[in-house]
Amino acid sequence: MSTALIENQTPSAQRPWRKKSRNDVLIVVVASTLPALFCFTIYQIGILSPVISGMLFVILQIAAGAIAGTIHRGRRGLADGVLIASIGFALAFIGTVMSSVIWSVLTKGLEALKWQFIIQNNEYITPTSPLGYGGIGHAVLGTLIIVGIATIISVPIGIATAVYITEVRGRSRVLVQGLVQAMSGVPSVVAGLFIFATLIFTGVFEFNGLMGALAYTILMLPTVARTAEEVLRLVPEDLRSAALALGASRARVVSMVVLPTAKSGLVTAMLLGIARVVGETAPLVFTIFGSAKTNINPVEGPMAAIPLYIFNGVRQPFAPEQARAYSAALVLLFLVIVFFTLARVLSSDRRKGKK
């Protein structure tokens, strides 16, 4: 590659390191298709069992990566070739799973998903009722009420915890951080059991929506607290010092300066908290009991919620009920995506605003 430069003429930008000889391209193409072709042929002929051909494929593909790397870069290319082939498998695994999850809920869930399904309740519906009748309106309402109450309880406590961690210095801060971390590790089934053991098993309350909301609170609080903590940390120290220098008290600095500055971030914390719990099933099994009727009173009588509806529906050995469960899962997934996307959009807006 010799560039004869004419006087006064600027050459164009190049990336010689990206240049691949035809040989290199050939190596990559052969190395990434040959093992698959070979193993597929073997499998079709039926010489080896599928598991052996599958394993042979993995081994051959990684070996092909090693050989391609060695041809391309010598002895040093070997490990890189193996690594890249293995990473390819990891990506393929997660890609397959992801599309399979969405595909399975989508194909099975669209069948029963009609307008009436979202607004009607399930009162006169049996597991064998045809799909044109009944719906999960009562469960949607129940989920909104339960999540709403959990939000009202956990957001103030979560933000207060975050303020404590970011504004109060000293050893107790580390302790509180550790406690929040520990609380985020509480399995959801334990959260439900705890509410059951304290408030229902002891006879203080019956199964009702509030109990579900309390169980959700236990799961939601750490998420809100940790996200809010991150957000509050982003508030510039100068702002705090400036307000303090003006003679404001610590408490006033927090309420007048820190929290308003971090407002959109705190909304993100709330949304992430909601996304965390809205699909949780296990805490509800022990707390709200489930219901086919519409019940909007959180302190009186059993309540329905989408996750619990799915949980019970899919256990029924009847096709219509299962179809309804999958449709409910689709609705639930939609809700999660809405909250998740909202949180994402808000936080990326904030980051852009910062620049």
Binding site: M1, T3, N8, T10, P11, A13, R15, P16, W17, R76
Partner: protein, 278 residues
Amino acid sequence: MITTVEAVPFVAPKTQGAGVPDQDLVLASKNLYVWFGPRMVLADVSLNFPKNSVTALIGPSGCGKSTYIRTLNRMHELIPSAALAGQVIFEDKDIYDPTVNPVDVRLRIGMVFQKPNPFPAMTIKENVLSGLKLAKLSNSNQNELVEKSLSQAGLWNEVKDRLDNTGGSLSGGQQQRLCIARSLAVDPHVLLMDEPCSALDPGSTLRVEQTIRELSEFMTVVIVTHNMQQAQRVATYTAFFLLEDNNPGYAVEHGPTQHIFGNPIDQRTSDYVNGRFG
């Protein structure tokens, strides 16, 4: 919204100065242009680096000196938006030729960075030998290699009793000499140094300069520095880089160090080496 402006192509003035004899060159760049994304940062740099010499690259901040030496051992291409045109000839071969393996280039042309960066998880000895591991080279007599490299870097006497301590236990200047020893262990022919003393105290700086002079007896050194005295103390040749307005940087003047500092041809070189700007 991208408005394409047909930019007037920047033509770098010819590099002035006495230059460097064309014989016995180890490394040379020919008409080298460098880009980050659409922005050209260096234009038409042609410099020669003779065998067993020390060349200092001086110039104000941001003029592309560091970018330039990173093109000399193909570290430049590791930045995603990087691009380049021109040639870098190392021992009679263009290092950007598609048949050349960048790893071989980086082994023959070592690099020492601004901030001492020994591997924190490794001992002093392991740090010196890390190049062998990283590039999968074999060496039968590792202890000898450790002693030789550390001696060449002028560190052996200070650390010979604590080779199993971590690199982080050394002072800043010692760490930097450890990084030099680490580069020497893979037997490079050229050593590129990117402001190797800017993070060091004056005492350590003098110690490292001493090492550089010793190294130049058997290898070629290219050193980027902001320190005029340092350039005069260590360098056989000096090249002055400059960027003006929003144009790319280029090499204004290149020649023996005493010419550049004693009687420079270009007025700007004179202003810079006499501390009138930069």
